[in-house]
């Protein structure tokens, strides 16, 4: 074998072994979710169950915890957050990019500053605010703090800066109002950027643990991460089959969506790099 063949082979060998290690927790989680207890508590490595315990584990998981409800909550919360973020951020981004109004420079500085603030740092006053408003332990508590996405404003503003002024002027000549321009001209041209932002927003809020942990108490409001953590606390290391089944169910929606549209996902989440 010559060096010409050796190098690609080495590349694949290195990447495949690293990939194996990276995927191991996923594989082990799924494999465990398929095993009967006897094969889980074993003093040797068993890569794949000899007897499949799929129905039992997944049924037990669904029975012990309202996983469907958690997933639904996740969906409700992430979609509400995203829709509200767009409704708030798009007009502001358009105003910042294309309109001249008093206080515009100040607003942009605040947006840039806002991007730097880690959400955990302001959890205490936010918690007290929602406590005062009597909104703790509700969907509102899960959704409202994230309706303002300064990062979304920044991102969309950067995108709108690249839209030619002529297009906005043409729309004005055509008689479209400033409000109409946001939704009928800017939004359609910004679909790729909005999609990327949407993926970023949904993934980060689906996975968020810190704020839901603080904001809600009732099991009926648990988001998927809260739900699976609560499940694990109840099981406390006794019943790994159903626990891994629950973890698999919680992870499945995003991972499947990712596998279907990985390029868009990577673009979308890499956006956080700007954050």
């Amino acid at each position: 074998m010559t060096a010409r063949h050796l190098l690609p082979a080495l590349r694949h060998a290195a990447l495949l072994s690293a990939g194996f290690v990276v995927l191991l927790p996923f594989f082990w989680m799924i494999a465990t979710s398929l095993k009967p207890p006897a094969e889980i508590f074993l003093s040797e490595i068993r890569w794949w169950p000899e007897t499949l315990h799929v129905r039992e584990n997944y049924a037990a998981a669904l029975e012990k915890a309202p996983l469907g409800r958690y997933l639904l909550n996740g969906l409700i919360v992430t979609v509400s957050i995203f829709v509200l973020q767009v409704m708030v951020a798009l007009p502001a981004a358009y105003a910042l990019a294309k309109l001249r109004f008093p206080g515009r420079g100040m607003l942009f500085v605040l947006v840039l500053f806002g991007i730097l603030i880690p959400p955990q740092a302001i959890a205490v006053p936010l918690f007290l605010l929602f406590h005062q408003l009597g909104l703790l332990d509700s969907y509102a508590a899960l959704v409202l703090p994230f309706t303002i996405s300064v990062f979304g404003i920044f991102l969309m503003r950067q995108f709108f800066m690249t839209v030619p002024d002529d297009l906005v002027d043409a729309a004005r000549m055509d008689g479209i109002s400033e409000f109409g321009i946001v939704w009928t001209v800017m939004l359609p041209t910004a679909i790729p950027a909005v999609t990327a932002f949407g993926i970023f927003s949904v993934v980060s809020h689906w996975n968020d643990y810190f704020w839901p942990l603080i904001a809600v108490n009732s099991e009926t409001l648990f988001t998927p991460p809260l739900g699976v953590a609560a499940f694990r606390n109840e099981e406390a290391g006794t019943d790994y089959g159903p626990l891994m089944a629950a973890a698999t169910i919680v992870i499945a929606p995003l991972v499947i969506a990712f596998l279907l549209a990985q390029r868009r996902f990577i673009e979308g989440i890499a956006l956080t790099g700007m954050k």
């Binding site: 990447l15 996923f26 880690p118 302001i122 006053p125 303002i148 990985q262």
Partner: protein
């Protein structure tokens, strides 16, 4: 029309005097964002700093302004120093490791043509998979008796370890999970940086006699990745300082405060003991660290940009 070349002349459209209704539209369109920012972002930042100067406790009838007492209490609190030290140690492990792994994998992927998208996807899965669920999977893999990792060690002739229960191992173990979760993200940033390096630079390097892989890396790749590297370092550091999920689910700061980290201390003070003032002081320290890191990046970025 590119009239910008001549200084008099055409200001960008937005900078021009417009009819009044445009200014009104600008204000109206940004009003919801301004109100929500004041309520949920800028206001709370002020509030957190203000609260850190009080002895406020959730549910208490009264509170008073106590100046910097919360901070001096923190300064005299061994647990706080432990927590800060643990956070720094965690970052000191995760940042270089996830930087090196991210860069290494990106270089390997970029070195060939085949299966690029496949590898990229494989290493990216941990970034977007729900960390809480994956932490539970890791916990089982780290199980002292039946975990995959100890079983592997035993079959190779090593002694099993109590990964999360041993004070010496717990934090490094969490750091490994942190690296596992983070380096795919760095890889994506490095891949983007690698793609943007102009091909002719490599051709020029080859003409100059730098044709070995290492020489090319030293002469072209590494310097051209300068801004991306800086970026990855700071982003990784900020994210490491935010470590919380794995701590809360797997160790609760233990054993014997071995995994007590900044955000966990803040969470415990604020939402378990309801000492809001103390929690706000920790949050302020956290905020200052994160902002300092960002400033550091901004200053470094001024100096190290190699793009034109």
């Amino acid at each position: 029309m590119s009239e910008a070349a001549i200084p008099l002349r055409r200001a960008p459209a937005a900078a021009r005097r417009r009819p009044r209704h445009v200014a009104l539209a600008g204000l109206a369109l940004s009003a919801p964002a301004i109100a929500l920012m004041a309520l949920f972002l800028i206001g709370p930042v002020g509030a957190v700093i203000g609260m850190s100067l009080t002895d406020y406790q959730l549910g208490a009838r009264s509170w008073s302004f106590i100046g910097l007492d919360n901070y001096s209490a923190l300064a005299g609190d061994a647990v706080f120093w432990k927590s800060l030290g643990n956070t720094l140690l965690y970052a000191a492990i995760v940042v270089p490791a996830s930087f090196a792994l991210g860069l290494g994998v990106a270089l390997l992927i970029e070195a060939g043509r085949s299966f690029r998208a496949f590898y990229r996807a494989v290493f990216f899965v941990p970034v977007m998979a729900t960390l809480i669920a994956m932490a539970i999977s890791w916990e089982f893999m780290l199980h002292a008796q039946f975990g995959l990792i100890n079983l592997t060690l035993i079959s190779l002739g090593f002694a099993p370890q109590a990964w999360l229960a041993n004070p010496d191992l717990a934090l490094p173990t969490l750091a490994v999970i942190g690296i596992w979760q983070a380096f795919g993200f760095n890889m994506v940033l490095f891949l983007a940086g690698l793609v943007s390096i102009p091909r002719p630079l490599y051709d020029a390097a080859a003409m100059d006699g730098a044709d070995g892989a290492f020489e090319r890396f030293r002469l072209v790749t590494w310097p051209m990745l300068g801004p991306v590297s800086m970026f990855v370092l700071v982003i990784s550091a900020i994210r490491s300082f935010q470590v919380f999920d794995t701590v809360h689910v797997l160790t609760k700061g233990g054993p014997s405060k071995a995994t007590e980290v900044l955000l966990y201390s803040m969470y415990a003070e604020g939402f378990e003991f309801f000492r809001s003032g103390v929690a706000a002081a920790i949050a302020t320290v956290f905020l200052v660290i994160v902002l300092a890191l960002t400033l550091l990046k901004a200053r470094a970025a001024d100096r190290r940009v190699h793009y034109s």
